[in-house]
C-alpha cells in the first residue's frame, strides 16, 4: 500500500528528528558525565535533547493539518486523542504510585514515550470501533 505524501513527510521528519535527538542526547550525557558544563550552558545542554522530541509532536500536528484525506485525518485525530488520554492517565497513576512510595521515580520525559505507545492504543480502539486504523 503506497503511503500518502503527508504521511511520508511525517515519517521523514520523525527520522531526522530522532537522529538529532540521539546526537543531542549523547553529547549532553557525555558532557554531564565529565562535568564539562556549568551555569547557563548546562541548562541549554540539558534542554537540547528535549527540542527534537517537541519537534516530533510538532510533526504530528503538521501531519494532521497537511493530511488531505479527511477520513484518514479523522482516524488519526481519534488515535491522537486516545494517545493523549492514555499518556495523561498513566502519568496520573504513576505519579500517585510514586508519591505513595510504591514505584521509583521516572523522569518526566518518559511521558512522551507513553504518548506514542498510546497511539497504538488508539489504533486498537479505532480497529475495534470503526474497523480501520492508521499505521504510523
Amino acid at each position: 500500500m503506497s503511503m500518502n505524501p503527508a504521511m511520508n513527510r511525517y515519517n521523514w521528519r520523525v527520522i531526522w528528528l530522532s537522529l538529532v535527538y540521539a546526537a543531542f542526547l549523547l553529547t549532553a550525557v557525555y558532557c554531564f558525565k565529565h562535568q564539562l558544563l556549568h551555569g547557563v550552558i548546562a541548562y541549554v545542554a540539558a534542554i537540547l535533547p528535549a527540542l527534537p522530541i517537541i519537534g516530533i509532536f510538532g510533526a504530528m500536528g503538521r501531519y494532521l493539518l497537511e493530511e488531505e484525506d479527511e477520513y484518514v485525518r479523522m482516524l488519526m485525530v481519534r488515535q491522537s486523542l486516545w494517545a493523549s488520554g492514555f499518556a495523561l492517565s498513566v502519568a496520573t497513576i504513576w505519579g500517585f504510585l510514586e508519591s505513595f512510595n510504591l514505584v521509583e521515580h521516572v523522569d518526566a520525559y518518559s511521558v512522551a514515550i507513553v504518548w506514542f505507545v498510546g497511539l497504538g492504543v488508539g489504533s486498537l480502539m479505532n480497529k475495534l470501533t470503526l474497523g480501520a486504523s492508521v499505521k504510523c
Binding site: A28, I54, G95
Partner: protein, 141 residues
C-alpha cells in the same frame, strides 16, 4: 472552561462541567485523608496501591469526561474548537514535561511527581476559558 456566557453553553458542555465539578469534589474529599494516612500511619503495600488508584480515579474520570463530551457534543463547531484546544494543551503539556524531564535527568532542576503533568493540562484548559472570556470581542476561537 468553554469560555461562553452561561446561556451560551451547549447541553453537552453543561453535562461535562457538571461531571467535572463532581469529580473535583470527590478528589478534594478523597485525597486529604489518603495523604494524611500515608504520612502518619504505616500503610501496607496493597493498601497503598489501592489508595494510589483511588486518588487517581477522579482525575482519570475528568479525562474520560472530556472524551464523553467530544462524542456527546452535537454542535460540530464547538466539537472542532475543543479538539483544537485539547491538541494545544496536550502539545504544550508534553513539551513542558519533556523539557523538565531532561533538566531533572541532568540534575539541573528538582524532581517532581508525574501527576503534575495532567494537572498542568487541566490548568491549561481553564486558561483557555479565561483567555476567551477576556477577549470576548472575538467569536470565542
Amino acid at each position: 472552561m468553554f469560555a461562553a456566557k452561561q446561556s451560551d453553553l451547549t447541553p453537552a458542555q453543561r453535562a461535562h462541567i457538571r461531571r467535572t465539578l463532581w469529580l473535583l469534589l470527590a478528589y478534594a474529599v478523597v485525597l486529604p485523608p489518603l495523604v494524611w494516612l500515608q504520612a502518619h500511619r504505616h500503610v501496607g503495600h496493597t493498601l497503598s496501591l489501592l489508595m494510589a488508584v483511588a486518588a487517581s480515579l477522579p482525575l482519570l474520570g475528568i479525562f474520560a469526561s472530556w472524551g464523553r463530551y467530544l462524542s456527546d457534543e452535537r454542535d460540530e463547531y464547538h466539537q472542532a474548537l475543543t479538539l483544537r484546544r485539547i491538541a494545544i494543551a496536550t502539545n504544550t503539556t508534553m513539551g513542558a514535561a519533556v523539557v523538565w524531564g531532561f533538566l531533572q535527568a541532568f540534575g539541573v532542576m528538582p524532581l517532581f511527581e508525574t501527576y503534575w503533568i495532567p494537572f498542568i493540562w487541566v490548568v491549561m484548559q481553564g486558561a483557555f476559558g479565561c483567555i476567551a472570556v477576556l477577549s470576548r470581542g472575538r467569536a470565542g476561537a
